[in-house]
Amino acid sequence: MDIQFGTETEIGISRAIPENLDVVAESIALVRSATAPGVRMRWDYSCEDPHCDARGFRVKELLQDTDEANYFAQDAQRTLTFHEIKSDLVLRNGARFYNDHAHPEYCTPECSTLLEILQQDYAGDSVLMACAKALTQQSPNNPVLLYKNNTDFCGHSYGCHENYLMPRTLSWDVLSQAIIAFFVTRQIYCGAGKYGWEEEDKFVKHGFQISQRADFFSELQSVDTMQRRPIVNTRDEPHANNDRFRRFHVIIGDSNLSLYSNYLKIGTTSLVLQALLNGAPLERVPRVADPLHALKSISRDHTWRWICREIGGTKVTAIDIQRVYLQLVKEFCPSLEPEWKGVVTAWEKVLNDLEKDPLSTSDRLDWSAKHKLIEHFRESESLEPDNPWLRSLDLSYHLLDREQGLFYGLMEQGAFRLPFSFDEITCHSLCPPASTRAAVRGRCIEKFGSAVHATQWDYILVHGSHKKIELDLRNLFDANVIRHALKVISAAQSVDELAQLPFAKIV
């Protein structure tokens, strides 16, 4: 595989008694309560630029810029500095944990295997739960509640973005056209399920749908992420060598609790991107006639037949469309490693099962597990379909609390298949992935954290005894170079010895 990946997950935050809650203050306090090892407030914001568009231009402003300016003005009234409000923490696994306006956000380090991404995502959940516990100890009568979901049921959505770092050889035109039907239909196995239909800023009606996020997309392509969200986000900010790499920033996915759903989401998307990189032709890729309409109609289809129309008018199902992508992967990725062959097998199986009996996937997928569980409860309690308790149960499915969260209740019962053994996923304790530049970042943070002056995804600046040393990570994707660098860092007696790394320079 030529692709590395990671996720950025915004978390919902509340209290058991949420009246008059300042979610921004709560989010700041939560992030600042972290005791996980790392370096705090060294993130360099000066090189971030979300205005660059992959279509080849730079937009003057984003739709959210006005809101951002207003939030900034409100935040200026607080007694904290900008850096204190953000409270960025770079963890020893190479992850980033910070306050993104009103949501704690955990960004995994760069991963190159599916086991790694599941390990890193799980580690993030553990960090979040530890923070909630610490903050709750300060006010035990009003516990902090964290939700790994994407909505408040009143039209306010927050994301779980995926990032796929890939060679820039695939043109944006081909990528952006080829991926739309895939994104419209992959929700049938990676949707997290939702009791309620919404629009921007409002609840519409009760009713189950398979996706949390489908209600919030109204454009095919754009650089925006907070308003009029697009199916394909055009942000062009690789955090790597711009000439060689593209970071495909995917904003349309749901936050998954199910490890299997997450495995399929990242795994199938990576495979489709790899097939396109390997030359899968655009003319063989499915084209949906009205993708924005299809996105919502598939999510809300209570028959779970998921019919939509291709350009030309032919009726097809979301499963048919997914099978075309699956076939392209089989043809254009013929020499996959066993881990990736496993994704192909799991993908094919889940499509077959969704066709035969959608709820038979409740041992794997978030949406079907949630639906089966809550409908069982609804029947046992004789609740009407519009009872608001159902939305509270939906919310509780996403609660990051092993004793109370409904997802964790199902896990405890052994109700979920796992893509790897539970021990493999959970036993690594905030280690960075071994094969990516995140290992270099994580090792430097762990060993020379107090010397770190500034950091970003693609560089680390450290104070030496007489000079500053910059580690340029923009081209650090060769496993052999990474392995050698880790040896140098492990052997280093002082931070000055980092200067001998091949990607170091004195500044």
């Binding site: 058991a16 979610v23 086991l115 939700y147 062959k341 019962q413 280690c431």
Partner: protein, 57 residues
């Protein structure tokens, strides 16, 4: 920063799971739904009504 007492090694994917045959089946054949229903009854029916967030990304 000195080396910490715990020195985790970068992870190396193990041989189990994720092989060419796809993921494994659940370990438990029949979930105990009574325990889950108890957990669900403890959920405040109005929790979602009172849950408000700011729009994120």
């Amino acid at each position: 920063m000195p080396d910490r007492i715990q020195k985790p090694q970068p992870t190396v994917p193990g041989p189990g799971g994720g092989g060419g045959d796809g993921p494994r089946s659940p370990q438990v054949e029949k979930p105990n739904t009574d325990e889950l229903l108890k957990r669900m009854r403890k959920v405040d029916p109005d929790q979602a009504k009172r849950y408000r967030q700011r729009t994120g990304q």
